[in-house]
């Protein structure tokens, strides 16, 4: 409470600026240097250029890695969202023995050290004798993304008033028609939001991809490999800036969808018993 007293108010804005600066200035440096006309990343800046971005287009390896990331991201998004839809529906709709335990176990990977998960998965893949490929990356990342999808979808389904489906049946619609005309559209934003979030996480994910990807690197793994060569750093910065921009766009879109659903549902289901 004492922080809220009028005499201390002047401290808080200062603290906030410091906090935001610490958090975001380093990230801002990334796009700044990606437009800098010099191979070395230091001040003063040497003038504006877009050549680092242009150089990306001719880079075969980079494009391959980007394509790999795209494939992995889409697969992970679809798989983890699909699995989470089933789980979230079960957890929000039904009361069954072990419901809390199931929910807890699904959410647990969120709190496990990722490197431990990655090593364990690597051991299993090697034990089974499977080959490391994009498939193993996808499977690993699904485990990792599932909690995020689950969190987004549980929130979406929780607000879903069951009487909406009953109302549809009552108005003459069939069970399938009800799913198509009511259930799906109402939860669609949450599903889309889950797809976007898991795609974004997959796109940025490094550890699992590093351990499980074999000879086909995803973008973060490719970037890691490039960091050894000082001359390639500006290209990496340009690539990083693009990924940053894409991630931000996707997450903003996901959050926008989530909020819109929440607002719509909050009024409909206020007093349902």
């Amino acid at each position: 409470m004492s922080l809220l007293k009028p005499s201390r108010w002047r401290v808080l804005p200062f603290y906030m600026v410091l906090y935001l600066g610490f958090l975001y200035l380093p990230i801002l440096l990334l796009p700044v240097f990606s437009f800098n006309n010099a191979a070395a990343t230091r001040f003063p800046l040497a003038g504006f250029t877009t050549k680092w971005y242009a150089s990306l287009w001719g880079n075969r390896e980079m494009l391959d890695a980007a394509f790999n990331s795209l494939v992995v991201g889409i697969c992970v998004a679809v798989l983890s969202t699909g699995l989470a839809i089933c789980a979230a529906r079960a957890v929000t709709r039904y009361r069954f023995r072990g419901r809390r335990a199931a929910n807890g176990l699904i959410m647990a990977p969120l709190f496990l050290p990722e490197i431990i998960v990655a090593v364990s998965l690597l051991m299993i893949v090697l034990q089974v004798g499977a080959e490391l490929s994009l498939l193993t990356v996808i499977l690993g990342q699904v485990v990792f993304c599932l909690p995020y999808s689950m969190a987004v979808l549980t929130a979406g389904f929780d607000g879903f008033d069951r009487s909406l489906e009953e109302a549809s049946l009552d108005l003459g619609e069939t069970a399938f028609g009800t799913f198509r005309r009511v259930t799906l559209p109402v939860v669609a934003p949450a599903i889309l939001s889950s797809l976007l979030v898991s795609f974004t996480i997959s796109l940025d994910e490094f550890l699992l991809a590093f351990f499980l990807s074999g000879t086909e690197p995803t973008l973060p793994v490719y970037i890691w490999g490039q960091l050894r060569f000082a001359a390639k750093l500006p290209g990496v910065l340009a690539l990083g800036s693009l990924m940053l921009a894409l991630s931000i766009c996707l997450l903003v879109a996901a959050e926008f969808l989530r909020r819109r659903t929440e607002r719509q549902l909050s009024t409909g289901a206020a007093s349902h018993v």
């Binding site: 009487s163 909406l164 009552d170 108005l171 069939t174 669609a188 719509q264 909050s266 009024t267 409909g268």
Partner: protein, 373 residues
């Protein structure tokens, strides 16, 4: 009204495991009637309504609508539509799309569909809000959308599940008179579930009072309020002064009952009857007792003292202790002559009408009778 009831419920039971939600419910509701199911929460009124809609399946018994058995008929194939307690407005659709939701399946053609949606919205005075979404509407407006959405399909029966409980008092009273007018205008059979006795009294042609999964009494509002059959029903419908009396004579349907302070009363026998020597429960409504001011006289008077007073604006509720009665009597006085200024402890006189007493069956007795049936 035709002779055949619009809804005929016969011998309906509903079990959830060993819990009996509905017990031998039988009920006829006439076409065009505004019928209310009234009772405390958990009495089975909502289960009964949902059984009519098809969302619950009775464990035994039959529900017929317009002569046709509804056993095994899915909700979407029943000639009923429902207004849900939460209104269940589809959040991804605007008002017009909500109202036309059920019409889409009928394939009426655009013009006819538009006309019916427009008519339905005008009926509930929402014509100007057709493009709004559910979350942009007030509680009362959402309720009207739910009404229009159900009525536009011209059902034989409209089911309303506590439709006014989420509204504040002023709006609730407004919607009550509107609902009543709407029902008269469309002539559809309305079945309303409510726990609010005033709502049921104000709206209904007839009311079924339910306790513990059973129907306790079916009657018109006035009949139900003035001649409740049992103590529980009497109590649920409003204030009631209970006192006990001893039957001294039984002449046909009229009992002569000796009471502690109200003298010998002639009373219509309750369902449980009464033989000379039996002790029975009597009741008189608080507003049937009248305060006598100085100089006023009445044929039947009692003396007492004010022990408590509660001010309700237009009325004052008084507790009056009368020597020889176990419980103080409650009275309701309008504040026309200053009942709100009566000091606690003030000696007063009150008048009563000996014809205003009713004999009430104890609910255990009633249970025993049901079992004997």
């Amino acid at each position: 009204m035709s002779d055949m009831p619009m809804i005929a419920i016969s011998g309906v039971n509903k079990f959830y495991g060993i819990y009996k939600a509905l017990s031998e419910v039988s009920l006829d509701i006439a076409a065009g009637e505004f019928f209310s199911l009234l009772g405390p929460s958990g009495c089975g009124k909502t289960t009964l309504l949902r059984s009519i809609a098809g969302f619950e399946t009775p464990s035994s018994g039959d529900i017929r609508i317009d002569g046709q058995s509804m056993l095994g008929v899915a909700p979407n194939r029943r000639p009923t539509n429902m207004v849900f307690q939460s209104y269940a407005i589809f959040p991804h659709l605007n008002v017009e799309e909500n109202v036309s939701y059920g019409l889409k399946r009928l394939k009426l053609g655009t013009t006819e569909e538009r006309r019916r949606v427009g008519d339905a919205l005008d009926q509930v005075r929402l014509g100007h809000l057709g493009k709004r979404r559910g979350h942009e509407l007030s509680g009362g407006q959402r309720q009207r959308v739910a009404l229009a959405r159900a009525l536009v399909l011209r059902p034989k029966v409209l089911l309303l599940d506590e439709p006014l409980s989420a509204l504040d008092k002023k709006l609730r009273e407004e919607m009550q008179s509107e609902l009543r007018a709407l029902q008269k205008a469309v002539g559809i059979t309305f079945v309303l579930v409510t726990h609010d006795q005033y709502e049921a009294l104000a709206l209904s042609d007839r009311i079924a009072v339910m306790f513990g999964g059973r129907i306790a009494q079916v009657a018109t509002p006035k009949e139900l309020y003035q001649h409740p059959l049992t103590r529980l029903t009497a109590d649920f419908l409003g204030g009631m002064n209970f006192l006990s009396g001893k039957v001294v004579e039984s002449a046909g349907a009229i009992l002569s009952v000796e009471t502690d302070r109200f003298g010998r009363l002639g009373i219509a026998a309750a369902a449980s009857g009464g033989r000379p020597g039996d002790r029975i429960t009597l009741g008189i409504r608080p507003e049937r007792l009248r305060l006598l001011w100085d100089g006023e006289r009445a044929d039947h008077e009692l003396q007492g003292r004010v022990t408590n007073r509660a001010y309700f604006g237009e009325t004052t509720h008084l507790s009056v202790r009368v020597d020889g009665l176990e419980q103080p009597l409650s009275m309701i006085e309008t504040n026309t002559y200053g009942a709100d200024d009566l000091p606690i402890g003030e000696p007063i006189r009150l008048a009563y009408d000996p014809d205003a007493f009713v004999a009430l069956a104890d609910d255990e007795t009633e249970d025993r009778i049901r079992k004997l049936d």
